[in-house]
């Protein structure tokens, strides 16, 4: 329990030390993944070069799930231990998670339109991903609506804890409704036919994850400064 109670001053310094390394690794992984996935000469892609949309769609969707679960984890820590730093971490993750949620929808629209379906199909996966985006937006918007930081913290944490139920729904929606997914057409999954594209997806996913960590820590430092020097009212 004591391990969670580190001072915001120390968190600020630790985050600052991690940032340059995280930036370099994230850039390198994204560059390698993008190079592999986009340029890989591959005659056997299941849906021709449209398959390369998966290079960004899969990582963006995964990050939107992962960041919400991480956000909810910090929200629970904040609620249980009444820990300000944990709440700040939850706030720091929300905008980046919302961005990846939007990008998952955007690339999903590219994908379905490319297959000859509409931009918006309205199947359970798209609706659940849209719900996830709205949950992120609610958490991002709460501090602006509630001037009192303590109330905004607890409000956002409650939204996160209730909203995390959407993540398994979304995950299984992807598993169960395969109308647009390559899996039903190509037995064994969408990317098995192309090891280079699959490797690209893995690199970009890890790259996005480290990118998200970088952005969240930059934002955490901003939040610490703002609260430490009272740019925003706290309890």
């Amino acid at each position: 329990m004591i391990a969670f109670v580190i001072s915001s001053r120390r968190a600020y310094r630790w985050a600052g030390r991690l940032l340059p390394g995280l930036a370099v690794v994230a850039l390198a992984l994204c560059a390698v993944g993008l190079g592999l996935g986009l340029a890989a000469p591959d005659a056997d892609l299941p849906f021709g070069d449209l398959s390369r949309v998966a290079l960004l769609h899969v990582p963006a969707a995964w990050l939107s799930f992962l960041l919400f679960v991480t956000l909810a984890f910090w929200a629970v820590v904040g609620l249980v231990l009444d820990n300000r730093l944990a709440y700040m971490m939850a706030h720091a993750l929300a905008p980046t998670g919302g961005m990846f949620s939007f990008l998952a929808l955007w690339t999903g629209a590219m994908w379905s339109k490319g297959l000859g379906l509409g931009w918006w199909v309205g199947d359970p996966r798209q609706v659940a991903e849209l719900a996830l985006l709205l949950l992120y937006l609610a958490i991002v918007g709460l501090p602006a609506l509630l001037a009192d930081a303590g109330r905004a913290d607890r409000g956002a944490a409650v939204v996160a804890v209730l909203g995390v139920a959407n993540v398994p729904i979304l995950f299984f929606a992807v598993q169960w409704w395969w109308e647009l997914q390559l899996g039903r057409v190509i037995p064994g999954g969408p990317l098995v036919g192309s090891p280079l594209l699959l490797a690209g997806v893995v690199f970009v996913t890890v790259g996005f994850w480290i990118y998200a960590t970088f952005s969240a820590l930059v934002r955490l430092r901003h939040i610490i400064l703002e609260r430490e020097f009272v740019l925003r009212r706290t309890e």
Partner: protein, 65 residues
């Protein structure tokens, strides 16, 4: 697709709009996020600089009085 020319690479087998539309928007948003973060840091440091200058002026005035 096995690329025979740079042009073919950009055409993406006829799916250029969807593939490049995904790539550009994704990295455009990520770049924009970094710009927004840098601007926010700038704003915070400007604010702290103003507080500090204000404080220094107060001290100077007290010294003169």
């Amino acid at each position: 697709m096995v690329w025979n020319s740079v042009g073919e690479f950009f055409e993406m087998g006829g799916y250029a709009l969807y593939v490049w539309g995904s790539v550009l928007v994704t990295f455009g948003f990520m770049a924009a996020e970094q710009v927004i973060l840098a601007m926010r840091r700038r704003t915070i440091l400007d604010y702290l600089g103003r507080v500090r200058r204000f404080d220094d002026e107060e001290v100077d005035n007290e010294g003169q009085a």
